[in-house]
C-alpha cells in the first residue's frame, strides 16, 4: 500500500475502500476523501514510533504484570435469558435470529 521508508504516509482512495471493506463499513463517496486525508495523517503521526529503540524489548499487551487468565469449572452457572436478550434483536422468529438468506 505504501512504503515505510519515508515519513510521508499517503493512503489512496483504493486503500481506504479496502480497509473499509475489511472493517465491513460502508463509506459514502462524500466521506471517502475525508478518510483518505485523516487516516493518512494519523498513520504519519504514529510513524514517529518507528524511531524508538525497541531491540530486545518485550511487547506489552496488558498493563498488569503476572496476571493470568482465570479458569473456571466447566459448569452451567447461567439460567436461560433467551427471550429477554432477543427483545433487543432487530428480527427473530421462534427463538432464532433472522438474517438475509446466505445459501440460495
Amino acid at each position: 500500500m505504501f512504503s515505510r521508508t519515508g515519513a510521508i504516509v499517503t493512503l489512496t482512495r483504493r486503500d481506504v475502500e479496502n480497509i473499509a471493506h475489511l472493517a465491513r463499513l460502508e463509506i459514502s463517496e462524500a466521506e471517502l476523501p475525508v478518510y483518505v486525508q485523516s487516516l493518512s495523517a494519523i498513520l504519519a503521526f504514529v510513524e514517529q514510533l518507528a524511531a524508538a529503540p525497541t531491540e530486545g524489548i518485550e511487547p506489552m499487551a496488558h498493563p498488569l504484570e503476572g496476571q493470568v487468565q482465570r479458569l473456571r469449572e466447566d459448569q452451567v452457572t447461567e439460567s436461560d435469558h433467551r427471550d429477554r436478550y432477543q427483545a433487543n434483536a432487530p428480527a427473530v422468529e421462534a427463538g432464532l435470529y433472522l438474517v438475509p438468506r446466505v445459501i440460495e
Partner: protein, 486 residues
C-alpha cells in the same frame, strides 16, 4: 440549605441525620435537571420514576437505621454502563434502541449501596473523543462557559456534576476520559488502577486500557464512591482479586514527607502559561505542606499519544466487530444480503470518529502491517511502562497538569483529529501503564478551571486520594461553582 451546595458525603450525613429525606433530595436534583437540561445537554436519559423509587427505598433503609454513607445520595451513570431496563446508548446511533437486559457491576454495587439513579449521561460515541462532540445526541456544553467543551469522553457526567445537576457521577477512562473532563469542569476525577473496578456491563472500547471511575466534587466523595464500586468480580476476567481498602479512612494521611516527582516532559512546549502557573502554585502548596519535590524525567512519555493511537484503535476495531445488526442494536433497512447488512448497518450506526478509529485499527492489525504498527506500539508501551517503574523507585507519586490548556471552544478541534488527540497528551501514559491517577482542581484561568494530575503506582489509590484531600483541606478550588449554576 440547598442540596446542590452539598457534596455527596455531606448529603449522606444530612440524610442520616434526617435533615432531609432522599425523596426530597431526588426531587431537588430532578427539578434542577429539568430546568437546565436544554442548556447543557448533559443527560441522554433522565430516570425520574426510578430515582423516586430508589429514594423511597433509601428512606426506608435509613428509617430502619440501615445503609451506609452513600445511602439515599443521587448519582448519574455515564451511558456506557448497562442499566437493566433502561436505554444504554453509549452515545451512539448503533445503540440508540438498546435497552440493557442487565446491570453493570458498577451500577449493581452503587445501587446496593443505596444510591439513587437520576439518569444516564451524554458522552462521546463509544467513549471515543475528548470534547463530547462525537455523541449521537449532540455536544455537551461546559457549565463554566457554554461556548466551551466540557471535555470528553465523560463530558455529560462532568457537566452534570459541575453544574450540580447530580452530586456525583460515574465515568470511564481509556486515555483520560475521566481526568480530562474533570479538569476542564473543576471536578475531582479518579481513574483507578486497571482491574480495580469491574468492567462487566461496561461497553468495551479498548479492553487493555478501559477502567471505570468517578467524577466528584471532592477527594472525599471520590473515596466513598470508589470504595462502593471497587472489588473483585468473577464476571470480568481482568478484575483483580485484591481486598478493597477503606479509602475514606485513608484521607487523613499526612502529606509531610511525601516524595513528589515533577514530570519534566509535562512542562514543555504546548503547555498553556496560565495552566502551568496554576499547577506550579499547587506544587508550591504541597511543598509548604512538607512534601519533597523531585525533578523526574520519563523520556518515552512523549510517545504515549502515538502508541495509544495504534493500541486503542486496534482493540476498538476488534471490540466493535460485535455490532453486526443481527442480535441487538441498529440494523439497516432491507438488506440485500449478509454483506450488505453488515456494511450498511455499521456505516449508518457508527459516527465519523468511531469509523475512523475502526479503520485505523483494522489497518494496523492487517496482514503485513501488524509488526510495523501494532507490535511496535506494544514494545513502546513497554518502554513507557518502564519509565514509570523507574520513576516510582524514586518517588511516591508523580504530579503535573492534567491537560495542556483549559476548556477550548466547541468546534475548535473537530476538523483535525490529531489536534484533538493531543489534548490527552498528559493523561494517556497512566492508561498505557494501568496506573491510578486523579485530577483535582487547582485554579481558574480566565474563569475556566485547571486540573492538577497526581499519578501513583498500581493500587496506590489511598495515597492519591490522601494527597488530593490534603490539598482540598487547604484550598477551596473544588468548592467553586460555575457562576450560572451557583
Amino acid at each position: 440549605m440547598n442540596p446542590h451546595h452539598a457534596t455527596a458525603a455531606e448529603l449522606g450525613r444530612g440524610l442520616k441525620s434526617r435533615q432531609y429525606s432522599s425523596v426530597e433530595v431526588a426531587r431537588w436534583f430532578l427539578d434542577r435537571i429539568h430546568e437546565t437540561h436544554g442548556a447543557l445537554n448533559a443527560f441522554v436519559t433522565v430516570t425520574a420514576e426510578r430515582a423516586l423509587a430508589d429514594a423511597r427505598r433509601a428512606d426506608a433503609m435509613i428509617a430502619r437505621g440501615e445503609g451506609g454513607p452513600l445511602t439515599g445520595v443521587p448519582v448519574a451513570h455515564k451511558d456506557i454502563f448497562c442499566t437493566d431496563g433502561i436505554l444504554t446508548s453509549c452515545g451512539s446511533r448503533m445503540l440508540a434502541n438498546f435497552i440493557a437486559p442487565y446491570d453493570a457491576t458498577v451500577v449493581e454495587r452503587l445501587t446496593a449501596a443505596g444510591m439513587v439513579l437520576l439518569g444516564k449521561t451524554n458522552m462521546d460515541e463509544f467513549a471515543m473523543g475528548s470534547s463530547n462532540e462525537t455523541s449521537h445526541y449532540g455536544p455537551v456544553r461546559n457549565p463554566w462557559d457554554g461556548s466551551k467543551v466540557p471535555g470528553g469522553s465523560s463530558g455529560g457526567s462532568a457537566a452534570a456534576v459541575a453544574a450540580r445537576l447530580a452530586p456525583v457521577a460515574t465515568g470511564t477512562d481509556t486515555g483520560g476520559s475521566i481526568r480530562q473532563p474533570a479538569a476542564l469542569t473543576g471536578l475531582t476525577g479518579l481513574k483507578p488502577t486497571y482491574g480495580r473496578v469491574s468492567r462487566y456491563g461496561m461497553v468495551a472500547f479498548a479492553s487493555s486500557l478501559d477502567q471505570a471511575g468517578v467524577l466528584a466534587q471532592s477527594a472525599e466523595d471520590a473515596a466513598l464512591v470508589l470504595g462502593a464500586m471497587a472489588g473483585f468480580d468473577p464476571r470480568d476476567s481482568t478484575s483483580v482479586d485484591a481486598p478493597v481498602p477503606d479509602y475514606a479512612a485513608a484521607l487523613g494521611r499526612p502529606v509531610k514527607g511525601l516524595r513528589i516527582g515533577i514530570i519534566r516532559e509535562f512542562f514543555g512546549e504546548g503547555l498553556d502559561a496560565g495552566t502551568g502557573a496554576a499547577v506550579h502554585a499547587a506544587l508550591d502548596g504541597f511543598r509548604a505542606m512538607g512534601a519533597e519535590l523531585v525533578d523526574v524525567s520519563l523520556p518515552n512519555l512523549p510517545l504515549s499519544v502515538p502508541t495509544y493511537y495504534v493500541v486503542a484503535p486496534a482493540e476498538c476495531s476488534s471490540n466493535l466487530s460485535r455490532y453486526d445488526g443481527v442480535r441487538f442494536g441498529h440494523r439497516c433497512r432491507d438488506p440485500r444480503d449478509l454483506m450488505d447488512l453488515y456494511r450498511r448497518t455499521r456505516g449508518e450506526g457508527f459516527g465519523a470518529e468511531v469509523k475512523r478509529r475502526i479503520m485505523t485499527g483494522t489497518y494496523v492489525l492487517s496482514a503485513g502491517y501488524y509488526d510495523a504498527y501494532y507490535l511496535k506500539a506494544q514494545k513502546v508501551r513497554s518502554l513507557i511502562n518502564d519509565d514509570f517503574r523507574r520513576a516510582f523507585s524514586q518517588v511516591d507519586v508523580l504530579m503535573g497538569p492534567t491537560t495542556p490548556t483549559p476548556a477550548f471552544d466547541l468546534g475548535a478541534k473537530t476538523g483535525d483529529p490529531i489536534t484533538m488527540y493531543l489534548n490527552d497528551i498528559y493523561t494517556i501514559g497512566a492508561n498505557l501503564a494501568g496506573l491510578p491517577a486523579i485530577s483535582a482542581p487547582c485554579g481558574l484561568v480566565d474563569g475556566l478551571p485547571v486540573g492538577l494530575q497526581i499519578i501513583g503506582p498500581h493500587f496506590s489509590e489511598e495515597r492519591l486520594l490522601g494527597a488530593a484531600h490534603a490539598w482540598q483541606r487547604d484550598t477551596d478550588w473544588h468548592r467553586r461553582l460555575p457562576p450560572l449554576y451557583a
